[in-house]
Symmetry: C2
Subunit: 273 residues, 2 copies
């Protein structure tokens, strides 16, 4: 459905799989050799197809494998199209730059790799984000509050108006997305459920990509409760190593299924807003 709005495509992917779960396709260099990446990912995609709404390959784990990895990233996205055609692909690349450089990154992500969305860094401002939002059927997710301890160094610092930087970023990003096709989302780490509540309150309609979900059901439940939109959607709960290294195909499928059920249960149990 190349002519649909990105937000509609995301909602359709969630409905089709009845799932908020996104699988991070992050082959670890120490565990998966460059030549094995495509086969490794294909097994994961086949095992999880129909259970998840999205796949999120992390560009760094392909780039580190050089030209072989770069091609494996493209082939991985093509494999999602073939095996799990209703899922969307978020290229996790944290790209950004100014002007026509950002345009080149957008073209690379959307045309060469054929990703549906790409993660971007907001630090350069709205004109650097705009090139990623030109196509109604594609989108981007801007970093807002990351899951690492160092996120405190800048993201949680108070601005002159008393707001932490990450909420200022959230507000700006909402404006940037609204000025295009509503196709800008936010990245908020699962390690900060209180901050997720704040972000969702400010940005009721924006898709949120939530990395950092591990094996702990608690985090997942608190995050779903805090992060879904008024329709119980709009949240991509991303899990990577806990799924892709769960074991054989059956164990991978079982872990994805468990996460999907836990997220859906938390979603049903939340207070109606």
């Amino acid at each position: 459905m190349p002519n649909s709005l990105f937000t509609d495509r995301l909602a359709a992917a969630m409905e089709a799989a009845d799932s908020l779960i996104c699988v991070g396709l992050d082959p670890q260099p120490a565990r998966t050799s460059p030549d094995e990446i495509l086969r490794f990912n294909t097994r994961v995609i086949e095992a999880t197809a129909g259970l998840v709404c999205a796949y999120k390959p992390q560009s760094a784990f392909y780039e580190v494998a050089g030209d072989v990895g770069w091609q494996a990233l493209k082939d991985t996205i093509a494999t999602v199209r073939r095996v799990a055609p209703q899922a969307i692909v978020v290229l996790d690349a944290k790209r950004n730059d100014i002007g026509n450089t950002a345009e080149a990154y957008a073209t690379s992500a959307f045309d060469w790799f054929d990703a549906d969305a790409v993660t971007i860094n907001p630090y350069l401002g709205g004109d650097a984000v705009a090139p990623f939002l030109q196509r109604p059927d594609r989108g981007a997710f801007a970093l807002c509050r990351t899951s690492n301890p160092g996120a405190e160094d800048l993201q949680s610092l108070p601005m002159a108006d008393g707001e932490p930087l990450y909420l200022t970023v959230a507000e700006r990003a909402r404006e940037w997305g609204e000025a295009h096709h509503g196709n800008l989302g936010l990245v908020v780490g699962a390690t900060w459920p209180d901050e997720l509540v704040q972000v969702r309150a400010r940005c009721p309609e924006m898709p949120i990509l939530l990395p950092g979900i591990g094996a702990q059901g608690g985090d997942l439940e608190a995050s779903v409760e805090a992060g879904v939109d008024a329709h119980g959607r709009g949240l991509l709960v991303s899990a990577s190593r806990s799924v892709i290294y769960a074991g054989d195909a059956e164990e991978i499928r079982a872990e994805a299924s468990r996460l999907r059920a836990a997220a859906n249960a938390a979603n049903l149990a939340r207070e109606p807003s």
Copy 2:
């Protein structure tokens, strides 16, 4: 000199060419086809060798050309090694991510591409920057104040202590670099000479990468005066299209030579600090 400190290598490259000039190897998709990139860059490197201290390929303009571009980026860096061995290579990739993902980006930049330094985005905080600073002979440049109009959206906003965000970033980056090998520099756009003065005052020892120099000598002179360190070094004045699309090899060399002379004249003319 793989065992030297990055800052010593940068100073040696500036001394060897008696130059602050860095050539941005940014082949424009509309003007240079993917198959021509390596030949195009080789001509530029041959024409400017000995006149410049550094080369800065912009990753986006290679990524947009797919696998051919990715390989051309690696081959371009190898060509700098061969043709201009005293120059350093800054991979302009604006990368960053958390934890072992940042490590993978650093490994890609330093091992697969063999870059001496890489540009990074500071928004994720110190623990995400650290993987780029582990090697004494390699370095990174963190975005501080970018040259685009949208830089005002976030970078110039005042923090609670009255400082604009970009100066807070500069101060944090100084601490992050000092905690490693002094191998973290800053990116400050040439369109903001007043801000460059502020950054240099806070960070007297940090290398500064200055993109955005066009054909205007005024910008260059004001930027050199504002940006060099106490030794008249520590500033990489980067020019891209005005050099690489100057014309034939002789015209490319003439333009690089003109920028080098203008920067050196401005450096000699500045007040001793």
